[in-house]
Symmetry: C2
Subunit: 222 residues, 2 copies
Amino acid sequence: MISLEQEVLAKNDKVAERVRGWLAGRDTVALNFMSSPGAGKTTLLERTISDLRSELPLSVIEGDQQTAHDAERILAAGCKVVQINTGAGCHLDASMVARALVQLDPPRKSLVMIENVGNLVCPALFDLGELAKVVVVSVTEGDDKPVKYPHMFRASKLMILNKIDLLPHVQFDVEKCVAFARQVNPRIEVIRLSATRGDHIEYWYGWLRKHVNELTLTGQLV
Amino acid sequence: MISLEQEVLAKNDKVAERVRGWLAGRDTVALNFMSSPGAGKTTLLERTISDLRSELPLSVIEGDQQTAHDAERILAAGCKVVQINTGAGCHLDASMVARALVQLDPPRKSLVMIENVGNLVCPALFDLGELAKVVVVSVTEGDDKPVKYPHMFRASKLMILNKIDLLPHVQFDVEKCVAFARQVNPRIEVIRLSATRGDHIEYWYGWLRKHVNELTLTGQLV
């Protein structure tokens, strides 16, 4: 079973590199958003779209086992979107993203936001050709998630700690959670915000401007 | 890939039946608790142990990618526990449970509570030899989870809607969530409670008494 897993991943990684090249050819980058179900990925994307679309061309690929609920929300927020339904599948892979990208046809010098299936385990293993993986954690989930799901936090460049408006109502030690995340990935960046209420949302936009704009403007293949 | 998945599942299902028989041989049953990460499974088990251990012999199998945090919490609550770490794995399978049960050595006429890896996708496919699957949903996750992850809700006998103490602070339509769950599984039972505060916890204990006691007392093999 282990050698088979390696084969599947090796095949996926090759397709992911092709996707990365296709995006670079359009001076475009993708971010891969991952989290537990219900951590607030879609709400974060909705707010980002409504606040940044005049500044940065955006489009979205939505991954879910079933339903087009999230795609409908993104569409209502005023953004191009393609929904992938994985059926029994637990993660997006690079081939699914490749097919969706052709359909999405994102404009040049733009950002594609890929919302993965809500799952803190399997998506961590699959490169989708993204610039970076972003893990969203809700403060309602408990502060020990980074050490219980280390692969996800090791693979991520940024951890967004969401729903901070609920901190007064739950037991969650922010410092402890950040320390746990740095324990498995010393270089992980952290932004705390509330996507629903908008608290600290400017830090997230600052991160996006810094990491995305410079890359979409250069569009480097290597 | 599909035929391989079927082979893996068929092999798992055979081991699961052996586990089911082993448990029946001890007049014991197991429940398989599944949820997103951080929905409150461990807190529910802690409270159940502290309230019911004089009435019903209990023991626990804990599944996590890494750490023994949950096993330590269960041990502190005064209960026998075996921790399974799945590493990169995204679910428990019947062979892992079989090995853990031998180590756990649960007493006759008892209940084994299996806390699966926090994942609303993959664990739905794997029979662990349990009497029933119980899915725990937190009201912080959004009310559309049952239609977005239908396999999980189709496989579950009971949905526990947890963290109802947070309802005043989040957007969550309880009736809508229950309707969505019944849409994918018309026979699913539903209990709303707060494991942290104890609201409505007696409904859960009533369910346990009804379903577990009658079966552990008869210990039927077929």
